[in-house]
Every structure is written in C-alpha cells, then in structure tokens.
C-alpha cells in the first residue's frame, strides 16, 4: 500500500520558518512509523533529522506527534494510524531541527525533584530489603522511560515550561512512596510550590499519551493527597 508521510521540517540554519514536506512510500500495514522515517532518510531525503536509538520502545528517544497524538514512532504501526500520516515534533520544547527538540528544559524539571535514592541509613552489607507489597506500591511509576510524551502533551506545560510536568512528578512518586527512601518531605515541598502539582488540572492528556501505560494522573493525585495528608502508604 502507498503511505503519505507529511513531515514537519525546520532547519534553523537555512529556513526562516518551519514547513511541511510530503513523502510517498510503499509500505506494509505492519510497518512502524519509525521504519518509514528511516526509509525516507535512507532513500529519499538524507537531510531529515530525528532521534531514535533502541527502536523497541524502551529508550524513549523517538517521541513525536503522530497524527496529533504524542507517541513513540517505534511503537506505532501504520495499521493503527492510516495511510496519511502527519509527523511533527513534540510540543512545548524548542525545536532544534526537524523532529528533534531541545530536551534540556524537560530534564531540568526532572532533576529538580531529586529523582534518586536518598537515605541517611548506613550502607547495608548486602542490599536494602523491601517487602513485595512495599515494592508494589510504586511499581507503576518505575516504568517511565523519560520519553517526554506526557509532559509535552500537557497544556499546563505548554503554558509554562516552569511547571515541573507529569514526568517529573512520576519520577518523584517513584521515590516518595518507596519505604526505603527518606527524602519524601523534601520532594513534597518542591512539588507543593506554585510550579508543582498545583498546575495539574486533571486533564488526563498525560495518561493518554504514555506509551508505557502508566496511570500518570492517578500518580499525580496520590502526590497531591500525600501533600495534603502527609500519609505515604
């Protein structure tokens, strides 16, 4: 079957403003959008730029807007998006070239919630034990691959990149509800600032966008609850 890919193109060195270019290709319905992008770059237009690495939905490099939805190109089949496909960079972050955006503001927000294990307890001989139940408490939020699909689908983040965004809250959630970690208070204070969870108005775009199917809005709700009640169970 013939598929038309309409791709957002922008090269800051030569273009005054972005434009769209269409490419026609022969494709199979089980091809992924990433396969077609590779075909365009390999056979039709070597100047096309996009990020990709694993091609198996685990590195989070190839988040892009496909027919208006934030998705990973490597996990999106032509069968599911039809034969006319529009591919654009994710919104809310500066475009560097074509489908590549500057991820630094996203990672700044991510780092701001201290997404690492913090404890004052002495290092154990072997490992820090945790019951299966305690581990299950934050299992969902361990699945994040930092692709930014959620954060860049959020109108509050489009409004201001100072909002930490869903991905950062998911990362904070993963440690706040980990019973071995001791910095929950610090993280809750960061997320209780005007740029924190209060910018979330339960729009649910993030939950719909997540390629890992994390219940993001629910996780944000749990963090809001923890800020209000102090209960971390």
């Amino acid at each position: 079957m013939e598929v038309t890919l309409k791709i957002f193109r922008y090269n800051p060195e030569t273009d005054k403003k972005p434009s769209y270019k269409s490419y026609k290709l022969d494709a199979n319905e089980m091809d992924r959008v990433l396969d077609l992008l590779e075909k365009v770059k390999g056979y039709q237009d070597g100047t096309l730029s996009f990020r990709r690495s694993c091609a198996h939905g685990i590195c989070g490099s190839d988040a892009m807007r496909i027919n208006g939805m934030n998705r990973l190109a490597c996990k999106t089949l032509i069968r599911d998006v039809g034969t006319r496909v529009t591919v654009e960079p994710i919104l809310g972050l500066p475009v560097l070239k074509d489908l590549i955006v500057d991820m630094e503001p996203f990672f700044d927000n991510f780092r701001s919630v201290k997404p690492w294990f913090i404890t004052a307890d002495p290092e154990p001989e072997k490992e820090r034990y945790q019951s299966p139940e305690a581990r299950a408490r934050f299992d969902d939020t361990t699945k994040c691959i930092l692709c930014a699909c959620c954060t860049t689908s959020c109108p509050s983040f489009w409004g201001s990149e100072k909002y930490v965004g869903p991905a950062a809250i998911v990362a904070a959630h993963r440690f706040i509800f980990d019973d071995r970690d001791q910095a929950a208070a610090e993280r809750l204070q960061i997320l209780n600032e005007a740029t924190g969870v209060h910018r979330c108005h339960t729009i649910f775009n993030c939950t719909m966008a997540c390629p890992r199917e994390i219940q993001i809005t629910k996780a944000i709700g749990e963090v809001k609850m923890a800020i209000s009640t102090g209960i971390l169970d």
């Binding site: 924190g196 209000s228 102090g230």
Partner: protein, 147 residues
C-alpha cells in the same frame, strides 16, 4: 510482617499558601452547596413558596442578601420583612460571598500561574488578584451589613 505506617507531619512537609488554597477551593465548593441548600430551605420556611417569585428565590438561594427578595415589591408579597434581615442571614451572606469570591478569583490566579511565562508580570498579577479578592469581599460584606 505488618508494615509501619509512614506519615509526615505538617511541619515536615510544609503547609503554605498553595496547598491551603488547593484544599480551600475543594472544600469551599462543597460548603457552597450547603450554603445554597440552607438559603433555599430557609427561604421556604420563611414563606417564599407563596410570597417570593422563583427568580428572586434563586437569587436569594445563591446569595442570601435581603435586597434580593425585598426590592421587587411588584412581584413579591412578603408578609414579615424582619425575618429576612436577621443576624443569621447577614453572617450566611458574608460567608457565602467570601467563599464564592475567594474560590472564583483563585481560579483566575490559576490561569495567571498556568499561562504567564514572564515572572515579573506573573508576580504583579498574583498580587493584583489577591488585592482584588480582598477589596471585592470587603465591598460585598459592607453591602450585606449596611441595610
């Protein structure tokens, strides 16, 4: 093994304007349903079913200020004026308008915080909305009590 409950005290997790208003907006919405119900039931007890027209009854329900039923003398036929202007209704009216204005104007504050990138403008508008809220409530309460 019974896991011990993990809780953080208020002092540790911090309790500031943001979380206070977040809770206030949710609880004030519930409180306003209650106020409206009290206004409606109170009005019916005071004889609104036969003495007040429906539009004015609704005005009173959502803001129990006596002007809302007493002014429209052609449509309303109130037997006992005094029961509509008691201390209880003045307090109810003051509470209602305070909750409503703070709830609504905090929504405006959210829009400011959501969509303005420039931090100087944001800070200015933040204080502007706060002042607007306080002044608005003060005027409304003045109206409620001086009649």
């Amino acid at each position: 093994m019974l896991a011990k409950r993990r809780t953080l005290s208020l002092a540790k997790r911090g309790f500031d304007f943001e979380i206070f208003m977040w809770l206030f907006v949710r609880l004030s919405a519930l409180a306003m349903y209650l106020f409206a119900l009290i206004g409606l039931v109170g009005a019916l007890i005071m004889g609104a079913r036969t003495q007040v027209n429906f539009a004015d009854l609704m005005r009173w329900t959502f803001m129990p200020d006596s002007n809302h039923v007493l002014m429209n003398t052609t449509l309303n036929n109130i037997a006992n004026l005094d029961v509509w202007v008691t201390l209880f209704w003045k307090i109810m009216g003051s509470l209602f308008v305070t909750f409503a204005a703070a709830h609504g104007l905090h929504g405006l504050l959210s829009v400011v915080e959501d969509y303005l990138k420039n931090s100087a403008v944001r800070r200015f508008l933040r204080y502007f909305v706060l002042v607007l809220t306080v002044v608005g409530i003060a005027i409304a309460i003045y109206v409620v009590w001086t009649k």
